[in-house]
């Protein structure tokens, strides 16, 4: 898994790529979310376009990232989930928790509302 962070205005875009599955790497992802809150970056757009696989542990870290942000009055939205990952969100009903987008501009603007 690779994690790439980039500011887009006041939105922190976090791009994940590779396999987001159980193992020591997930700790890094957890810390990335925690750091965002610590630095008051409360609008997070999580770009899953490059994610090839995700398992229950990967989903778990994303859900707890969402919770961490919500508690700080922040928000996490999802960009570019592939068909496979989108299906995971449907199966696990997480699709009802996250706003998901396929267009980056639209996703960024949605934070302004």
């Amino acid at each position: 898994m690779k994690i790439h962070e980039e500011m887009k205005g006041d939105v922190l875009k976090i791009r994940l790529s590779g396999k987001v599955i159980g193992g020591p790497e997930l700790v890094e992802l957890k810390e990335t979310f925690q750091n965002a809150v610590n630095h008051d970056r409360l609008k997070v757009l999580l770009d899953l376009g490059g994610v090839t696989w995700m398992d229950s542990s990967g989903l778990g870290v994303i859900v707890s990232g969402h919770t961490t942000l919500s508690r700080a009055d922040g928000e996490m939205k999802i960009l570019n989930a592939t068909k496979k990952i989108h299906e995971l969100f449907i199966i696990t009903k997480l699709i009802t928790v996250f706003d998901t987008y396929t267009d980056e501009e639209e996703a960024l603007q949605s934070f302004e509302e």
Binding site: G22, T52, W53, D55, S56, L59, V63, T67
Partner: protein
């Protein structure tokens, strides 16, 4: 042909080896291209549960994975040292009823959806056995 059988101590450190093994065995049984990762993720969800919930991550307790090719499908069995019987708990569906915002509780659900068929019973020695069927097309 005899089944392929793998016995491993309950330790996270072996999960990657099991994952690549399942992918390669899947490929040798005819699972196609990137489907092998779906397969290995499904199986690994059950193996992690067997280590965690069945064996309390005790490295002296092992998980046994049996893989056998059948016409049109591959059968996986994952046996741990516990005695969990969800199908005996009326109305219990692992993965359902868990809290939506929990960071846990999605493993069986994911395995079941990737593989289409996952069920639990006790093996002849009375130990928890997860059965996963992977269709071959």
């Amino acid at each position: 042909m005899e089944a392929v059988e793998l016995r491993i101590p309950s330790s996270e450190s072996f999960l990657e080896a099991v994952q690549v093994f399942v992918e390669k065995i899947g490929a040798s049984f005819g699972v196609r291209g990137d489907e092998t990762t779906s397969l290995s993720i499904a199986v690994l969800e059950l193996v992690k549960n067997a280590m965690e919930h069945g064996n309390d991550m005790d490295p002296d307790k092992h998980v046994t994975i049996t893989i056998s090719r059948q016409p049109g499908r591959i059968d996986f069995q994952i046996v741990d040292t516990g005695t969990w019987q969800p199908e005996k708990e009326p109305g219990y569906e692992p993965g359902e009823g868990e809290k939506l915002f929990s960071s846990r509780g999605r493993g069986v659900l994911i395995a079941r959806n990737l593989a289409r068929w996952v069920e639990f019973d006790l093996d002849p020695n009375g130990k928890t056995r997860a059965k996963l069927v992977w269709p071959l097309v």
